[in-house]
Symmetry: C2
Subunit: 410 residues, 2 copies
């Protein structure tokens, strides 16, 4: 049986409770005003239907990711070569999206990702949820994920409706009732590419993150279906990734509105698979992010759009593009996106300057990152913040220098 | 202008000469009998048209990679879960191949891989071939390649004809005359998965290798086209990867008929991009493989099909599936493939047992591999071979142990 998310019970008590719940060990505070989010209010959907957001520049941003109407300049970081790399990064995600265009679907962005083949008629018996959970994580990493977590389906994070780009209206967001678990995968974006934000070159990082996610989601979900279970892959569509990532123990929530992971900071893209495979649930993990963000405002200081809040978390929203009823730091999506549209490519300055954005390419990098994470979680957090400045972290790398570096570390 | 490969000049002197040539620093000895290979004689093509190879079992092997008619067993390594993972590994390569099915193409296997978008109208000027070559290598690694080399187009390695699976006949293999350079990418297969050969589980390694290669080829070739140059992606189609990999300085040739790379041994899958982007050519590199293979016959000893030759390289061929006129170790493809068809999945025992197949996951692994490679290239090569046995390298890992390992290193 399929239920439209809209028809799901909304009263208290209808949401999952217990160990793996986001209330248990995270800093999300759900208030009585909580309302699930309608994907039509997402800023990228509004850029298509809402005349206040739907500008020629906004549309050019969409086109450019598809390799269309690319407006390169002579400015460092925005040249033809920079856009050439960024747009090449989008290719696999675009191919997977365009594969379903004849069905009026935008797989991975507005609709879940159509799988390759349906589930096998025979179910592999699951003797131990612990064992199969480890194997799912192993398979996820084999397919390229950097981090994998597992939680239960929590309808609060599913959109009430999806956006139909053809009719510019809402359509039902359905989820089979059989699906009970959610696997969250995360892929890290390359540190030294991210360090060139703002630039078109830096846009290669999210582009590749999306393409890699699509690769992993298609492979991992097919593995589950080949074992006889249902598995639906989702990227930006269907449900919100950040609360799922927190609930699956992969991240804490930061001032910049991003999921901050332990090993890659805010430099991670997430995907999710909804499944009926019996799995063990991870629980939210805290390592001091909220307390550190309270004394750090680097992202808010650096944001060219002034879209990131100072001060403490509140349940105030800026406009319809924010989810209602969660006490947290809330970013103004309208302001944020206006910068993207204006510069013709993504802005990720809040990722670059975040002290949790550190390289972990070498053992020295990893050792310092570990030290920083420890210090930032102690009463010495102000020292950690000072050190971060003193050591010059978060400073922009000039894009032409990235191109010139001979060392290849990937 | 497009030329059918068949119409290209075949007389001596028509092939590229000079620094980057395969004759210069490799152990391929091209004899006067040399003839380019017709892809219709490839064992996988023959499995479709040649009644001696075209058996029900051979066809089931093809089907199983597409997730069809999978015959799992209760034997360790051949269970539903093993095939589930292997076939999930094929998904991205399959999706990319099936994308062109309506054009009667088998992208990546019988035909080159259709790109996403044609080249930009404006060419990025190339001030330095050295610089752009480094940037192409950097981009290749960013997109996921483990090794990238560059050589010039050498028509000797291009098939005289392609195979048309629909009509079971040959069709022209065309290459634009403008294309002058060949970029070779290599992706390593996971060591501990390969150690479970023979098994369906081990088949995950080549499956994922193909899928990853397709990802990289689609992205890297689009990067080149976005810079205004032509770029055609090729996997198993169009031309032979091994001589190209040798010519691009990525590998030496081994007794098992495989390209042996410095860092990943025979555990690598190759793809190639033909382009008119001006590039600097790499040259063949030798690190002692031929001399070591002369005293080592582990692959020939272990081959269940007795398809790998003992003794020294010759220009003898076994049947029409071998290229003519190269003095080298030549594997009997008919015998080799009969094992694959019989067991319903790929055999890679010759990869597993090769002493150059060593893990490089940890610094200890890398240090030993470096020591082995050095010793194997000296007069102590017999000691290197003895040590390899003594330390237990190349022994099969039971597939159920792979599934049980908790440590996730990917």
């Amino acid at each position: 049986m399929k239920l439209s998310i809209e028809q799901q019970p909304t009263q208290e008590g209808a949401y999952p409770q217990g160990e793996g719940n986001i209330e248990k060990n995270s800093d999300f505070e759900i208030t009585g005003d909580f309302q699930r989010f309608n994907a039509c209010n997402d800023i990228f959907a509004r850029a298509q239907w809402d005349p206040r957001i739907h500008t020629a520049k906004a549309m050019n941003w969409f086109y450019s990711m598809l390799g269309l109407k690319v407006k390169y300049k002579s400015t460092d970081g925005y040249t033809q070569k920079d856009y050439a790399l960024r747009n090449a990064g989008w290719v696999v995600a675009n191919l997977m999206m365009e594969r379903s265009a004849h069905l009026n679907r935008h797989d991975g962005f507005l609709d879940d990702i159509r799988g390759y083949m349906k589930e096998d008629g025979n179910k592999v018996p699951v003797a131990s949820e612990e064992e199969i959970s480890l194997q799912i994580k192993k398979a996820g990493k084999l397919f390229g994920a950097d981090i994998v977590g597992i939680t239960k389906i929590d309808l609060r994070w599913h959109y009430t409706h999806k956006f139909d780009a053809k009719t510019l209206s809402e359509k039902p967001n359905e989820l089979s009732e059989e699906l009970t678990n959610c696997i969250v995968i995360g892929t890290s974006m390359e540190y030294d590419v991210v360090q060139t934000y703002p630039s078109a070159l830096a846009g290669t990082a999210p582009a590749l993150g999306y393409s890699r996610d699509v690769f992993i989601l298609q492979s991992l979900s097919q593995f589950i279906r080949n074992m006889g279970y249902k598995a639906v892959s989702s990227l930006n569509d269907s449900a919100q990734a950040i609360p799922y990532a927190i609930q699956a123990g992969l991240a804490e929530y930061g001032r910049n509105g991003l999921a901050i992971t332990k090993d890659y900071g805010p430099r991670v893209r997430f995907g999710k698979i909804f499944t009926n495979l019996p799995l063990l649930h991870d629980v939210p993990q805290k390592f001091g992010v909220k307390e550190f963000c309270e004394i750090c405002s680097k992202c808010a200081d650096a944001c060219p759009a002034k879209a990131i809040p100072f001060g403490m978390p509140t349940d105030q929203t800026h406009n319809q593009s924010n989810i209602k009823g969660i006490k947290k730091w809330t970013v103004d999506g309208e302001k944020c996106f206006s910068i993207w549209a204006n510069q013709g490519t993504e802005c990720g300055i809040c990722v670059r300057v975040c002290p949790y954005n550190k390289s972990n390419d070498t053992w020295k990098d990893r050792a310092y990152f570990r030290f920083f994470r420890w210090l930032a979680s102690t009463r010495g957090k102000r020292l950690a913040l000072w050190l971060d400045d003193f050591l010059g972290f978060g400073v922009r790398k000039a894009p032409h220098l990235w191109w010139k570096e001979k060392e290849i570390k990937y």
